[in-house]
Symmetry: C2
Subunit: 502 residues, 2 copies
């Protein structure tokens, strides 16, 4: 190494500099990806893949440079300081990325790149056997990945840890068992009751009007259009191009109004988290959500707990009716509220309601754990899917296309990702408990269209920490209790008990 | 160097690989710039500057790497082959970029970054003295730049060469003298005649309608929306994000219809050139316009010679009237044609008509040459501007804001750029002569809205060469004559003689 490292402070300074540059590559990569999904001319796809690979390689080089390892060895900081938090996440990033051999990453990239194409065709043609050998190799590679990354109790821990740092299979399993125990009877009870009418949500809602409403809504929730944009894409997402540039996308289905309504609120929730990082963290690795579960808690809190509440629509329904006067003529707040909270077990996760959604996640979590531990072999997954679905949701998909083949995640190798979706629900409910306590007039304010106190609360309690704190500990401190299903179940029981008059 | 170079073929192969990567950085930089101008959230500007600087530094590193120099030493190719052309432009790129010391580039970047801000304020406040010391340093630095780059006859040659490779001050001066001699009396003769009525172009034309028409027009001219997009920006531009991704922007002034009409055709002309590069050049340095002058010949040919022709509007006016029926009610093709070709000396270059435009360029060329040769000092520029303007256009600006301060170019250090705008006119007219000879029914086809033969002609005669050939030689071979003002003057005399009944 050319430059001597010098003091620990020098080492930290240099690490921060290198980190800042790594973030820049991340943000440039985010622009390339955002453009690909929002408006890139179709024929540019191949060149774009090369451009993205180039930036991604430079980013990887930056975070795994031997210099980073040496600097990390020389850097120490007093516990509890920002520098200590920085060193922790930086060290984590370095280790995660250097433990896995380059050869393995290349193999995985090639495998999953082919697997995604095969999966897409297999799903379209309901042909699991075509995908089976790929899934087989993906499972096997994920087991190897788990060995590279290292774990204490369960090989699945290492995979989980990629998305939900420090989480364990055991604690999630516990929470999910409780969740299942509460959800299954609730779903059964709801199934006994005549569902609310939601036919008016399927009238024709022109995309332009939906977009106008989305824009108005996101701004009202606190999204700053000077620091982001709203665009259209096939699959909604949030992406961070910098501390001052967090963009969201949504899609407008003209015969499915709630798609964009709640999709926009959901992505706004993610974006508000990213935009809420305090100035001193910006441009560093600490200016990120601390885990995908906590990230999802933000999107779900806004989407479901605020956005699907009755007070929220007391304010917003008249505005929506102004844009769609004929489609929503004569619809009352109560009708609307009940319609957007209609519960019905279905096969497709991304279309699931708030009550059954987590059951879809539990199903995937169980199968993933069994696959990684070797208790389940790939050829038996379709049958296991049907059996678990029957146990959890009371229904089993008729085809693999709407069963084992429905999600893209496995085809890109993402084992350990799914649980974070349900963790988001659990954390969101725990947060809501405290928010309701801290803001006594919460629902009166929401009824007036004012959610600024909610945002301010989240800013100071959750966003301000960035990833300086571990998800589990942050959530425990903020909500006063460890991860569990209790809050979420009591929230659901109360809300849907009232809607369905259980 | 780690890898031995081996044969010349190996060296060329490796150079091409390195070049491909350099192009990728260029294209990524183009996306960052495109996004900045079309839709980036305003507060992202500072982070974006860092991102662009990072990519630009990586690009510079790539093209000036010592390895490139070594490979160039070992690489030879048979004259007339594609490899030989590649080596020529690659060598040129390497030398241009290594001759200038990094320290100088840094100094220039810092100077012009400050100068642009100062210039913007100075222009707004009509305060040349505020900008004067910056212009003074910029001229001085351009003289040093010229020394670094090297030249044979005139220091201005080196600056010119940055934008119009291999062009000389002497040859441009000759052409511009002839041009002046023809234009000045033409402008004077036109000034004697009552100008055509163009008031209907200043009705209110909503931007959405203009955009609809722009899109229809560009597609009809041969622009492939699968390989590009049309967006809005404050200043129209064309940018290349890859062989399959060339985007244009335009702006819609609601009380100035011809702005977007001809702006869109102009940028489409640039884009068709970039999109017309043959497959074997794509992804290499050869897949670029061979000079800015030739680039401008494409945009001007489409904008003025085709787009401002009477046959063109025989086809397109009814379509435009369908979009703007009240604004263009009762306007005949002849009225429209005459209105969009109205000539009047004015102060602002970018708003100038086809006849007076080149005089604005000659003015700047003369002052630049005098400044670089030391015959004119910066403090005397405002007066020299007025005197030259009077001599060329018959009018002198009342303020420096509409005189010496009107263009951004000097503030960013771009000496040598302006002449290419007028070269474009000269080359375009020379090309038109041959196109009219090769396509006897050209104007009948244009009248039917079919310009495909023009595009096919340009593709095979101009675009196919990319930058494998020098501008001057390519144009001479294609048009059968060296650079001169004759074609352009005779085109103008005939067209405007008829319009103004001279």
């Amino acid at each position: 190494m050319a430059t001597p490292i010098g003091s620990s402070a020098d080492a930290i300074g240099r690490l921060k500099e290198l980190d800042r540059e790594a973030r820049r590559f991340e943000h440039i990569g985010a622009l390339l990806g955002w453009d690909r999904e929002t408006g890139m001319p179709p024929r540019a796809i191949e060149e774009r893949a090369h451009q993205e690979a180039l930036i991604s390689a430079l980013h990887h080089e930056k975070i795994t440079a031997p210099q980073v390892g040496e600097l990390l060895e020389h850097a120490t900081a007093e516990e509890g300081t920002l520098d200590a938090a920085f060193l922790t996440v930086k060290r984590r990033e370095y280790e995660k990325n250097t433990r896995v051999p380059t050869e393995f990453v290349k193999e995985m990239t090639e495998l999953t790149s082919r697997a995604q194409a095969v999966w897409a065709t297999a799903r379209a043609e309901n042909d699991f056997p075509a995908f089976e050998p790929f899934l087989d190799r993906i499972v096997e590679m994920n087991r190897r990945l788990s060995d590279y990354l290292g774990f204490q109790d369960h090989p699945y821990d290492a995979l989980l840890d990629q998305y939900e740092p420090y989480a364990t299979t055991a604690e999630i399993d516990r929470a999910f068992c409780d969740l299942e125990a509460g959800l299954v009877p609730l779903v059964a009870a709801i199934a006994e009751v005549r569902p609310p009418d939601d036919s008016f949500l399927r009238h024709r809602y022109p995309a332009d009007g939906q977009e106008r409403f989305s824009r108005e809504l996101m701004v009202a929730l606190g999204y700053d259009l000077e620091r982001g944009r709203l665009d259209r894409s096939a699959h909604p997402f949030t992406t961070t191009l910098g501390a001052q540039d967090v963009r969201i996308t949504t899609r407008y289905q003209e015969d499915f109004l709630q798609g964009s309504l709640f999709g926009t609120i959901h992505e706004t929730g993610h974006a508000l988290y990213e935009l809420g990082m305090p100035a001193e963290l910006q441009g560093t690795l600490l200016a990120e959500g601390t885990s995908l579960g906590v990230h999802e808690s933000q999107s779900r809190l806004w989407e479901n707990m605020i956005g699907r509440s009755r007070p929220f629509w007391i304010h917003w329904l008249p505005r929506l009716q102004a844009i769609f006067p004929t489609q929503l003529e004569g619809v009352s707040v109560d009708q609307f509220y009940r319609a957007v909270n209609r519960v019905a077990p279905s096969h497709i996760r991304v279309e699931a309601d708030e009550v059954t959604y987590s059951l879809h996640v539990i199903l995937r979590f169980r199968l993933e754990v069994a696959l990684i531990s070797g208790d389940l072999s790939v050829k038996d997954v379709p049958e296991a899917w049907r059996a678990t679905s029957r146990a959890l949701l009371g229904i089993a998909p008729e085809s693999d296309s709407t069963g084992v083949l429905q999600d893209v995640h496995w085809s890109f190798g993402g084992f350990g990702y799914f649980p974070t979706y349900a963790l988001g629900n659990l954390y969101a409910a725990q947060l809501l408990d405290v928010i309701q306590r801290d803001i006594p007039d919460l629902w009166d304010r929401v009824e007036e269209g004012d959610t600024s106190q909610v945002l301010a609360w989240l800013r100071s309690h959750v966003h301000a920490a960035g990833s300086t704190r571990r998800a589990r500990e942050l959530m425990k401190d903020v909500t006063g209790r460890p991860l569990g299903a209790e809050s979420f179940l009591s929230y659901l029981t109360s809300k849907y008990g009232e809607i369905y008059r259980l």
